[in-house]
């Protein structure tokens, strides 16, 4: 398992998948700032004056983390930034889960921005943090051949596909529950 974890192909696939996830997440939030601001406000964690500032700073940080993870020289900073961004958002979700304030939009993009808060979100973010840690490793020094690049590309796309499908299922779940309880 250890040998598998530090293979550079695996590290690069995890790192680039997470970088794309972060960059897309940041873009989604910055594109529709008013919506993200409202989502931050609904978390009821920050005083009203802080909300616009936070709603701008977080996606910026997210984008910086994504970009830094892509480059070899800044990978270490990328890891720290990614863990900070994921830690802050997971913390916000956890506090609201613990106080039972779950019927709000997670503001985390995902599928159509319709995802409600649930325990699946911290689990998802924990997996993303693992991806960040794996992606920041330099990996075993071994000569890379061209097949490795196909594996990195394929692995990155596969991780993104799994993430997108998982997000959609996460967004579907409350509707399924509603349907079950309603009938």
């Amino acid at each position: 398992m250890d040998a598998l974890l530090i293979d550079p192909v695996l590290a690069r696939a995890c790192g680039s998948a997470l970088a794309v996830i972060l960059l897309l997440g940041a873009w989604q939030k910055l594109r529709d700032m008013a919506v993200f601001e409202a989502a931050v406000e609904l978390y009821r964690l920050l005083p009203d004056r802080m909300v616009p500032l936070f709603a701008r700073a977080l996606p910026m940080l997210e984008a910086a983390a994504g970009a830094a993870l892509l480059l070899e020289s800044t990978r270490g900073i990328g890891l720290v930034l990614a863990l900070v961004v994921l830690g802050i958002s997971t913390g916000g979700v956890l506090i609201n889960l613990l106080r039972g304030h779950t019927d709000i939009d997670c503001g985390c993009g995902g599928a159509d921005g319709n995802t409600r808060l649930s325990w699946a979100l911290p689990v998802r973010n924990a997996v993303l943090m693992l991806l960040a840690v794996a992606g920041a490793q330099a990996g075993l020094a071994r000569p890379l051949v061209w097949v490795d690049f196909i594996t990195v590309a394929g692995g990155t796309l596969a991780l993104l596909g799994i993430y997108a499908a998982g997000n959609q299922l996460l967004a579907n779940h409350p509707r399924l529950m509603q349907l079950r309880n309603g009938s």
Binding site: D103, L157, G161, I162, Q168, R175, G182
Partner: protein
């Protein structure tokens, strides 16, 4: 041997990615199905009163309880019924736009907000978002009557209480397209142009 492995590897990648795209597409389709089947918790299919038909009639007290609002039937102005929820970020984004619409289109339009749920939560939202210029209705029947599935949703009714446009509203453009739909329903092109000039002057 090596070549065979490489070909099998490439083939498997194609298969894995295709399967994942399929999985994602299925998950999306299931999401759409859930949405269609369960608008606001009640089991129904997305039909609802059609554009051109008279709107269902309601007479409901406002959230603050100091007035009653009639929906449907003849009125002296057109009505924009806007369904929203305090927990919907897109609805919040549209509030300033609704406020300006309420001001500039005052001569012919009345904007009514509607939602359902617990009163205290809505009262807090009403205070905080400063929604005093709008009548605010709290009624599950209203959402069911108009078959509202997804928020924010808007229904535009003319003075006779007929539905002239309705739909999901995610942006200013979509809100304005409701008015355009109403304007296009005007008797003649000349009427339509005059109407537009009126708007620009307003």
């Amino acid at each position: 041997m090596n070549e065979a492995l490489m070909i099998s590897n490439a083939l498997l990648w194609v298969a894995v990615l295709a399967a994942l795209i399929g999985l994602f597409a299925l998950a999306r389709q299931i999401g759409v199905l859930y949405e269609r089947v369960a608008p606001m918790g009640a089991l129904m299919i997305d039909t609802g009163p059609k554009v051109g038909e008279p709107a269902p009639s309601f007479e409901l007290p406002t959230l603050t309880g100091n007035a009653r609002v009639r929906i449907g039937g003849a009125a002296d102005k057109s009505t924009l019924l806007f369904f929203l929820s305090p927990t919907c970020p897109v609805c919040k984004k549209l509030l300033p736009i609704l406020r300006s619409v309420n001001e500039t289109e005052r001569s012919w339009l009345r904007v009514v907000l509607a939602s359902d749920g617990e009163q205290p939560e809505h009262l807090a939202f009403y205070e905080k978002a400063d929604l005093k210029p709008f009548p605010y209705l709290l009624s599950q029947d209203l959402g069911i009557g108009f078959h509202v599935g997804k928020l924010p949703y808007a229904v535009l009714m003319d003075e006779q209480g007929r539905i002239t446009a309705k739909g999901l509203v995610n942006s200013r453009e979509q809100l304005e397209s409701l008015f355009t739909a109403k304007e296009l329903g005007v008797a003649s092109v000349q009427d339509f142009i005059d109407h537009q000039h009126d708007h620009q002057r307003a």
